[in-house]
Point group: C2
Chain length 410, copies 2
């Protein structure tokens, strides 16, 4: 695979090639950060314009019914459900990932009285840990047990109420075995919550098959919903009736417009709603979701794996001896839709790459992270990105040892 | 004042008349529901288009810095601060009103250990009650004491940690004396939280003068931020350092991009942030705020009071004997920016009004509510609205007693 032509051939044969045309991809940019903020779907500006001008501007308050605004959380939830192996009525789009984590962790603790531990990984995405810390701090009766990946299984003992994990590690891209870990949690009588922010829309997810209890995820990465898009949450139907929403806002009330004095939770997943969601943000998210619902997630996954393997192979060929270490699994089956490398001057290297139009991101302390988004990336983008990476490593003067030291101090 | 010409004269002399041109006001509509969803500012579509196409579409992830996205919560917070008598750094735009209520109530309880009661009014906006109910339910150590307006002062005893009130009653428009109630709460050693959803942007608010501890409010009513706009929260600076955020998400971390394992709250108001906000929604809210920052809130208040007085007076003249009872204070100094009337066929009457282009709203059990938004309402709108209301009351056959009964059953 080590010439550009072979990558062009892969693009010519790519059944997803035309999907790229549904996105705005700026000239002179190779965008390897769709796992931080997905690209703009071409249909989004017109959809949001119509929402603003033709719905809000004309129908005003009547739009909640006339234009179905009130249905958005559930309607988008059902669309997301089909991407993550959930059933209609098990997912809602709402709030942020962090807020949704809080709702589900708090509910999970109530479902397991007598157990006072939340288990999570030290390497989990920080907000997942922070939210658990805030919750346990607030309650004063529970603790967060943070363990390494290796200690995970043995840490799930009889004290554990809920295990909270991210499916794909945000730094290394390492993929957890959702089915096996869910089984181990259940075996110990614990519940499990999966953060799908780095997997939904990037690879097939099957929550029902895994028998997962809860999940959350974000709308602005692989779902291409726009900056700060609504997040989502999943709760398996078997838990719905017993779940007490700690954030019991009016949108989760059985009859929000009855203006009752007492909170009575809506049946089903709707009780997980809290306040009024941004309708603009919902409309934009729907455009991103509709693109995903039209593609085959197995095809997306295969292209992602192929691109990741090629990236790693090319770096091995082109950048040998230039100080990069691989920081993700080489086996594509164990890897999410990203590749990662570490380098002690990682921050500076990423700055240089971005200046040359190769946009990945840096994750402290030393990780260069490149997200792979098969919907709008071409195989030649991988070739070109690695060529530029090599060029940066070879030519940038600040990579000389004496300059590195200065960089690391600042 | 009882001819249309006198209302036209008021409009001709109105220094706010030109502000109406900054809004889209649909033809054949008299919009008296800006207290549910504010009208669309003319500048909003272009601002949101630019955000989507020129920022997200072109700069992608780099926009967080390049286009100042990361500053939105604080930047808009400072703008809101100037509308509610707070200082820069005491307000952030974030999440929904409900979520912000939860954050502040939970923090307030921690600030008053040994006190286990939240006091609120039975007639408070339901989500304010529901959130307090969910919080106390979750903690299991505190209770919500719901009292009538008359019982309020005597209910604030030594057990009370925090008093949670809405400044303007959502049904009746009745205005609380913020300064006096804050004083009474403090006298008992309690904290106080004000929901400004129905006051900020409609009348002058001075949180600092009142010595208020906390406040929340919504962006989509008088602030004209669009459906589900970001809400905001205020905390007096004196409390910042001691506040523990229960929703401790990464946006409230002292260094979100350090990806630390442990939550360390940001200094100041930023620790009240949780997850990633919708940037589109923030951009739209800013357009609404900028209009408000350009007008004199005392002038807005005076016009609102004049419109409300005229509405009540006209209803008295035109609709006498047609079954309406006044359901708001007649003294405009005691009233927010709305008028309310009750009628046992209120729901049907509002349906008929809406069908004729007079958009107010109905609030169970029997309240017809008309919001007054001086930025885009004319005095003649009040005249015309009451004329149509009279016509509905006189001519609609379903207002006959035998039909009313059928309506009330369905």
């Amino acid at each position: 695979m080590s010439d550009r032509q072979s990558f062009e051939r892969l693009d010519a044969e790519d059944s997803l090639a035309s999907v790229r045309d549904l996105f705005v991809v700026p000239d002179k940019v190779i965008y390897l950060d769709g796992n931080s903020l997905g690209a703009l779907p071409r249909a989004t500006p017109e959809r949001v314009r119509a929402l603003i001008e033709d719905e809000w501007g004309v129908s005003l308050i009547r739009s909640w019914n006339a234009h179905g605004w009130i249905q958005y959380p559930r309607k988008l939830g059902d669309k997301i459900a089909s991407l993550v192996g959930a059933r209609p009525g098990e997912v809602v789009a709402a709030d942020s990932t962090s807020v949704n984590l809080f709702k589900l962790l708090a509910a999970a603790l109530k479902l397991r009285p007598g157990r006072n531990v939340i288990v999570s990984e030290k390497e989990n995405f920080p907000t997942d840990l922070y939210i658990a810390q805030g919750l346990t701090e607030m309650l004063g009766t529970h603790e967060l047990r943070m363990v390494t990946r290796d200690e995970l299984i043995e840490s799930i003992d009889d004290d554990v109420a809920v295990v909270s994990l991210t499916h794909v590690d945000f730094r290394t891209g390492e993929l957890h075995d959702m089915r096996e870990l869910t089984r181990r949690a259940h075996e110990s009588g614990a519940l499990i919550l999966w953060d799908l922010s780095h997997s939904a829309g990037a690879l097939p997810v099957d929550l029902e098959d895994a028998q997962a209890d809860f999940a959350v995820g974000c709308g602005y990465k692989y779902l291409n919903g726009g900056p700060g898009a609504p997040a989502y949450l999943y709760a398996a139907e078997r838990h719905h009736d017993a779940m007490q929403p700690p954030l019991s806002g009016w949108m989760g009330h059985v009859a929000p417009f009855a203006f009752d004095t007492d909170y009575r939770p809506a049946p089903g997943i709707e009780r997980q709603l809290c306040g009024t969601p941004s309708v603009m943000a919902m409309a934009a998210l729907e455009v991103g979701l509709d693109i995903l619902l039209d593609v085959d997630m197995d095809v997306v996954r295969k292209k992602s794996q192929r691109m990741g393997d090629a990236f790693i192979e090319l770096v091995g060929e082109q950048c040998a001896g230039l100080g990069l270490s691989i920081a993700c699994p080489t086996d594509s089956a164990a890897r999410g839709s990203q590749v990662s490398f570490s380098h002690e001057a990682g921050y500076s290297i990423m700055q240089a790459l971005v200046a040359r139009g190769v946009i990945g991101d840096f994750r402290a302390p030393d990780v260069l992270r490149f997200g792979l988004t098969p919907l709008y990336l071409r195989h030649v983008d991988i070739w070109d990105a690695v060529a530029i990476l090599k060029d940066v490593l070879v030519t940038e003067s600040y990579l000389r040892p004496e300059f590195q030291k200065r960089q690391l101090v600042t």
